[in-house]
């Protein structure tokens, strides 16, 4: 017994570190999983189905960009102890805040629409009309956040997210030509046509969604992580980001191996579900539907919530789930309106749910450079960050990402005016 105790005691510093790591883990992993929402799954599926392995080379680069952006947002949160909207208001004043928040609300609304589109699409696989599934989902989501314990909801969501691993399995079981995969991963292909550019921006926009930066920073501030424990949070961020991108990559590979090979384009969720065929056979559709539904519902709950919080944070309105509704009128109104509009727009006659989901992610990609510039200004402010501000190397990479993104958006505008 004594020897055992001694051994346990010697492990203490490692136990402490592990405990700290586990305590801190959360925001990064959760945000990463939320990354693979309706818009994400759709984007990666379409990318794989329509372009095969040609876009794979993007993924490692996007992973790096994602890690960089998430790390900056985490660092901002840990060092300042404030949310991103709070920082924007304090550093840029009311006018800039109003413009940024307006853009963000618009983008978040589009994303919420996309989530409800995901609900509709997934339930259509089971033959349930969107006129039934969407209103039900809207009511469920509304109640869920107001009445349920958020932590439980989060845990259920995370466990259900294990479904994404099925994409990895499916990707392998589709027996792709691994040479082709490697080729795709290492050879940059770039077609100067608007469809390709749009897909490019969309992939970036869905992996590094602006709203995720706000959500993650708030989550981190919530947890109250001390600056000295920051390195554990970095691990959380990196692991989360890598997981998200790995899953995304395998969604692409799976779709490339099944749909692209057969020349099937993704017009509806049913088509996308075929990508899980190698793994699940006739259960592919159900599996896909369940995964999509899980992702859509959870994101449909937190998007409006996160938006309501950040608007109230920026303008100094009371925001809390624990107060009486008439004390937090504006907070409540924003949350409810986003759900109603998000669900409502989906209920209008839309030709393609898939297109709706893709469009919202493209919007993210267009808005992203603006948010990145804001974050870069904040993170280089020595009054705010002290010794934790950016190193020059990091700044260079980050600014490079911004420039690439802005050029792409400009190219897109040019190409839409002068079609190629």
């Amino acid at each position: 017994m004594r020897a055992g105790n001694l051994f346990w005691k010697r492990l203490k510093p490692y136990r402490i570190r592990l405990a700290l790591l586990l305590a801190v883990v959360g925001p990064g992993i959760i945000t990463a999983n939320v990354d693979n929402d309706a818009g994400g799954i759709t984007t990666y599926s379409v990318a794989g189905a329509h372009y095969g392995y040609a876009l794979l080379w993007m993924m490692p680069l996007v992973a790096i960009a994602l890690i960089i952006v998430q790390e900056m947002s985490a660092r901002l949160g840990v060092v300042t102890g404030k949310g991103l909207a709070d920082l924007i208001r304090e550093s840029f004043g009311v006018r800039a805040t109003a413009v940024l928040i307006a853009l963000l609300v618009f983008a978040n609304l589009a994303n919420t629409v996309s989530e409800f589109a995901g609900v509709a699409a997934s339930m259509e696989i089971f033959g349930v009309s969107k006129y039934i599934s969407v209103p039900l989902a809207a009511i469920l989501v509304w109640f869920l956040i107001l009445k349920a314990d958020y932590r439980t909801v989060e845990r259920v969501f995370l466990i259900a997210s294990a479904i994404y691993l099925s994409y990895i399995a499916s990707g392998v079981l589709a027996h792709p030509q691994w040479d082709d995969v490697w080729q795709g991963l290492t050879t940059p292909t770039f077609l100067p046509e608007s469809g390709f550019i749009i897909m490019f921006i969309t992939i970036i926009g869905t992996t590094i969604a602006p709203w995720m930066q706000f959500y993650q920073q708030s989550s981190i501030v919530d947890k109250g992580i001390a600056v000295k424990n920051y390195r554990y949070e970095v691990v959380d961020v990196i692991v989360g980001s890598l997981f998200a991108v790995v899953v995304a990559t395998f969604i692409m590979i799976a779709c490339a191996g099944t749909l692209y090979r057969e020349g099937i384009t993704v017009q509806s969720a049913k088509d996308a579900a075929l990508a899980l065929g190698p793994l699940a056979g006739k259960y592919a559709q159900a599996l896909f539907a369940f995964g999509l539904l899980n992702a859509s519902l959870f994101s449909a709950a937190i998007l409006p919530l996160s938006t309501a919080y950040l608007v109230c944070e920026a303008f100094g309105w009371e925001a809390s789930l624990h107060r009486e509704i008439n004390e937090v009128k504006i907070f409540f109104a924003i949350y409810t309106t986003l759900i109603i509009l998000g669900a409502g727009i989906i209920l209008t006659p839309i030709k393609s749910l898939i297109q709706a989901m893709l469009a919202s992610q493209t919007l993210n990609g267009i808005l992203l450079p603006v948010i990145l510039i804001v974050m870069l200004i904040l993170i280089n402010n020595s009054r705010l960050m002290g010794e934790h501000r950016n190193h020059t190397g990091l700044n260079i990479i980050a600014w490079l990402t911004v420039i690439i993104l802005i050029s792409l958006t400009l190219a897109l505008v040019v190409f839409s005016v002068f079609p190629v």
């Binding site: 102890g81 709070d86 304090e90 501030v221 947890k223």
Partner: protein, 418 residues
Amino acid sequence: MPYISKLIGRPVADIDGDTIGKLNDLLANYQGEIPHPKIVALEVKKGHSIITVSIEDVTVLIAPAVALNKKHADLENYEPRPDDLYLVRDVLDKQIIDTNGVRVVRVNDLELARVDAEIYVANVDISGAGLLRRLGLNARGYRIGKTAGRRALPGSISWDDIELISGDQPMRLKVPSEKFTELHPADLAEILSDLSRQEGQEFLGSLDLETLADTLEEVEPDFQASLVAGMSNELVADVLEEMEPDEAADLLGELPEDRSQELLELMQDEEAEDVRKLLTFPEDSAGGIMTTEFVDVAATLTAEEVLQVLREKGKDVETIYYIYVTDQQNQLNGVFSLRELVLANPSALVSEFMEKRVITVNLDDTQDDCAQAISKYDLIAVPVIDDERKLHGIVTADDALDKIIPTAWKKRLPHLYH
């Protein structure tokens, strides 16, 4: 009264009429006992260069263009003092504590006032109208603001009712605990629940020990635990000694085992004894919610002597409204109220006017039992005894009710998502 948002950006011209830059910020500081800070300097920006000009060099500040009384070349750079407050950089758009309304609000604008020849910061504008003004939607905004803000928060708070949340500033202003010690701990707890975790820590750091303990008692144990996580063990031990033993026991119960042990060892033996004892009882039993701080006397004392005892011990106990009568073996034999004590003849013996039939609860009775006893017999507190009728502590009405009624008012961990 002029608003700072209107002044910022105006051109600053020297005595020759040459524009030397735009007004970028105003520096203010407290003069003597006046609770409103006075403008002491201006920050003028031209391109990338910034010069700070003392207010002495300004002819008129509140005008379409700020006029100086010296030539550009003759201006001396004002050396900012460490406690000078930069109004735009440190106050505008930041969150502050409104000690009057007991809440945390955001500064949308600042109202200045001219008294004699000097400009002071009069009020803080936190209204929606203020937001609209900042966005430049003036007259229209004013009307919209008035109708929308009808039943909303009052628009302006006087500067002497607010307290800055430090954080960004290198130095705090006045001694903050002045305003805070006047507030009820429940109000302080309310403010605390509106602050972020970091801000909350600093807020608590500015309170004196007694106020800190009282404020902590007003929040839920899990919130308490997260707040003390950042404090040194010595400080926490001091706070625990200040707190009521049952509250201290609750808090210790929430902390990790080893820290809990360390803290108990740091505490004074007497206090630690009480708390350790309370910790041995299950949380939801009478033993778990009782306090050991009550008054007990022997039956042989006179009313006069009991009053003497009260004067000595009265300050340290939970309540003096009920006085319990115990014998040498600490067995509970009777009880009487303060009213009965005061109305009794000073030379009457306790045994004569005490109530022999005492309503009690047992150590392992549930909280529900305590609440029922208290409400059935209209008690303020109920004594807790063991099987041998020895008195261990009392459960006060507020503690019993606390556990039964959903603690909507007891401040909970402020959280967005968790």
